[in-house]
C-alpha cells in the first residue's frame, strides 16, 4: 500500500483512478491551483497559442497524409486532388499551410517576449534552451513540409537547403548524397522528407512536454522580471489564466480564419503552383517568409562556408544567450539601454527579412551586411558589456506592491 497516492477527490470513480494514477491530482496541481504571477500581460498568451497551433497542425496533418502520395510522379497531383476532390480538402490544406505561418508568428512573438522580459535568465536557462531546440525542430519540420507539394519552390528550396551541407569541408558532398539518397533531389528524398515531416511534430510534442515541465519547476517569469514572494503575488492558473488564454485564443482564431478564408495564398509563392521541374530553376528563389532573415544572413557573407556558419550561428547564439547577457535585471522595463537595443534588434530582424525577399543587389547587399553584423554585435558584444555598464532602474519590492501601490500603503 505504500505506493498508492492519497487522493483528495470526492467522486469515487475519479478517486479510484487518482489513487492508482494521480493524473487528476497532477492536472489540478499544474493547471488548476498552479500559482502564477498575477501581473501577466497578453504577451504571456503565446505559449498556450503555440500549443493550440501545434495540435491544429498535427490533426490537419494526419488527415492530409491520408490523401497525400509521396512519390515524385504523383505528389503534385495528389495535392491538387486534395484541393479539388477530397471533401473539405481545400480547407484542411489551407489550415495546415497557413497554420505553419501562424505557428511561426506565434513562436517568434513568444521568443521576442522572452528576450524583452529576460525570461532566459537564471534559473530559466534550460527552459530557454529547450525552447531553442523546439524552434530548430519547427524549422526542420516547416522546411520539409514545404517540399511535399513538389512544386517548383518545393523542389528548388529542397535543392538549395540540402546543398548548404556541401559547404562542410571534405565530407560535405558525401553528406549531401546521404541526405538525398541519390545524386539529386528525387523520389528517395521526397519519401524520407515525408517520413520525417510526419515524425518530427511528435518529437516536438515530446520536447514541448519537457519545456512545460521545466517551466513548472521554475515558475513563469512576468513583466516585472522579479520572482513572486508570497501568495499576494500570484493567482491560481484556473480560472484566471485559463480565461485570459481563452481570450487570446479567440483573437488568434479570428486572425487565422481571416487568413484561411480571405487570403489563403497570402504567405504562399505562386511559383509553387507549377509542378517541380529539375531542369529549370525559377527566376527568383525565395524561402518561406519565416526563413527570410536567416536566408539574408546566409547571403550576406560572400563565402560559401562562412555564410552557412553565420546562418546556423544566428540560432546557436540563442543557445548561449543566458550567459551572454550578464545583467542581473531581467525585464527591459528596468533596463533603459537594453530596451532601446531590443527595438533596434527588432528593426534589424525585419530589415533582414526584407533583404531575404529581394535579389542580392544594390542597397540590399549593404543592408544585409550591416544588419547581419549588428545581429551578432547585439548578442556577442553589446549584451555582455551592457551588464557591466548599464545603470538599471530600481526594482519594485514585490509584484503586488508594483501592481497595487495603493494596497501596499
Amino acid at each position: 500500500m505504500v505506493g498508492l497516492h492519497k487522493s483528495e477527490f470526492k467522486n469515487p470513480v475519479i478517486n479510484w483512478i487518482d489513487t492508482r494514477l494521480p493524473l487528476f491530482t497532477m492536472m489540478s496541481k499544474e493547471y488548476g491551483v498552479f500559482p502564477t504571477p498575477k501581473n501577466f500581460n497578453y504577451f504571456w498568451n503565446f505559449g498556450a497559442l503555440a500549443m493550440v497551433n501545434l495540435v491544429i497542425m498535427i490533426v490537419t496533418g494526419i488527415v492530409l497524409a491520408m490523401n497525400y502520395d509521396p512519390n515524385t510522379g504523383n505528389a503534385f497531383e495528389s495535392v491538387e486532388r486534395i484541393m479539388r476532390d477530397v471533401n473539405y480538402g481545400w480547407l484542411l490544406r489551407y489550415v495546415h499551410a497557413n497554420g505553419a505561418s501562424m505557428f511561426f508568428i506565434v513562436v517568434y512573438i513568444h521568443i521576442f517576449r522572452g528576450l524583452y522580459y529576460g525570461s532566459y535568465k537564471k534559473p530559466r536557462e534550460l527552459l530557454w534552451m529547450i525552447g531553442v531546440v523546439i524552434l530548430l525542430l519547427m524549422m526542420a519540420t516547416g522546411f520539409m513540409g514545404y517540399v511535399l507539394p513538389w512544386g517548383q519552390m518545393s523542389y528548388w528550396g529542397a535543392t538549395v537547403i540540402t546543398n548548404l551541407f556541401s559547404a562542410i569541408p571534405v565530407v560535405g558532398d558525401s553528406i549531401v548524397t546521404l541526405l538525398w539518397g541519390g545524386f539529386s533531389v528525387d523520389n528517395p528524398t521526397l519519401n524520407r522528407f515525408f517520413s520525417l515531416h510526419y515524425l518530427l511534430p511528435f518529437v516536438i510534442v515530446g520536447v514541448v512536454f519537457l519545456h512545460i515541465v521545466a517551466l513548472h519547476i521554475t515558475g513563469s517569469n512576468n513583466p516585472l522580471g522579479i520572482e513572486p514572494k508570497d501568495k499576494q503575488d500570484t493567482l491560481p492558473f484556473h480560472p484566471y489564466y485559463t480565461i485570459k488564454d481563452s481570450v487570446g485564443i479567440c483573437v488568434y482564431l479570428m486572425v487565422f480564419a481571416v487568413l484561411v478564408f480571405f487570403a489563403p495564398g497570402f504567405f504562399g509563392d505562386p511559383a509553387n503552383w507549377t509542378p517541380a521541374n529539375p531542369l529549370v530553376t525559377p527566376a527568383a528563389i525565395v524561402p518561406e517568409w519565416y526563413f527570410l532573415p536567416f536566408y539574408a544572413i546566409l547571403r550576406a557573407v560572400p563565402d560559401k562556408l562562412g555564410g552557412v556558419l553565420m546562418m546556423f550561428g544566428a540560432i546557436a547564439v540563442l543557445f548561449v544567450l543566458p550567459w551572454l547577457d550578464t545583467s542581473p535585471v531581467r525585464s527591459a522595463k528596468f533596463r533603459p539601454i537594453y530596451r532601446l537595443l531590443f527595438w533596434v534588434l527588432i528593426v534589424c530582424c525585419f530589415v533582414l527579412g526584407a533583404v531575404g525577399a529581394h535579389h542580392p543587389e544594390g542597397i540590399w547587399v549593404i543592408l544585409g551586411r550591416v544588419c547581419t553584423a549588428y545581429y551578432f554585435l547585439h548578442f556577442l558584444v553589446l549584451l555582455p558589456l551592457l551588464g557591466k555598464f548599464e545603470k538599471t532602474l530600481p526594482l519594485p519590492e514585490s509584484i503586488s506592491q508594483a501592481v497595487l501601490p495603493a494596497a501596499a500603503e
Partner: protein, 186 residues
Amino acid sequence: MSATAQEHNAGHAPEHTKRDFLKLVAASGAAIGVGAIAWPLIDSLNPSSDVLALSSAEYEIGSIPAGQGITVVWRGKPVFVRHRTPDEIKTAEGVKVADLIDPATDESRVKAGHEQWLVVVGICTHLGCIPLGNKTTDARGDFGGYFCPCHGSQYDVSGRVRHGPAPLNLPVPPYAFLTDTRIKIG
C-alpha cells in the same frame, strides 16, 4: 479574490446566477466551434469527388454465351453478369418463394424483357468471399447458380441464397439496359 467570489456564490447557491449563464454560453460556444471544425475533418474521410465519379460504369455484354457469366468491376467490387439459359429461367421462376431463406421472386431480381440477364454483386453475404459459378466448369452447388468456396453457401441462378450459412441473397446493383447488349451499372 477567488475566495471572495466563491463565498459569494455559496451564499446564493440555489439561484441561477449571471455567472451560470455566462458559463453555459461560453461552453456552448466552444462546443459548437469544436463541432464545426470536427465535421470537415470527419467528412474528409468520406469518398471524395473523384471516387464518387467512378460510381457508374458501362459494359458490353453481347458476347457472353448462354449458360455462362462474366465478372466486371464496379466501385472496386466484382459484379456477376450471367446469361441464363431458358431452362435456368424456368427453374428460377418456378421456385416457391415461401420456401426461400430470403424470399424474393425471380421477376424482382431481373429487368422485364431481359429475363436472360442476371446482374448481381458477386460477394457472398456471409463473410465477403467471391462465389464460383460464372464458368460452366465451376462448382455451382446443388441449385445451379453459385457456390461459395469459403463456407459452402449456395445460390441459385437468380442469385438467391438456398443453402447457408449466408443469410441474404446476392444484392442486385442499380443498373439499366442502354441497348439490348449494353448495360450501365450504378
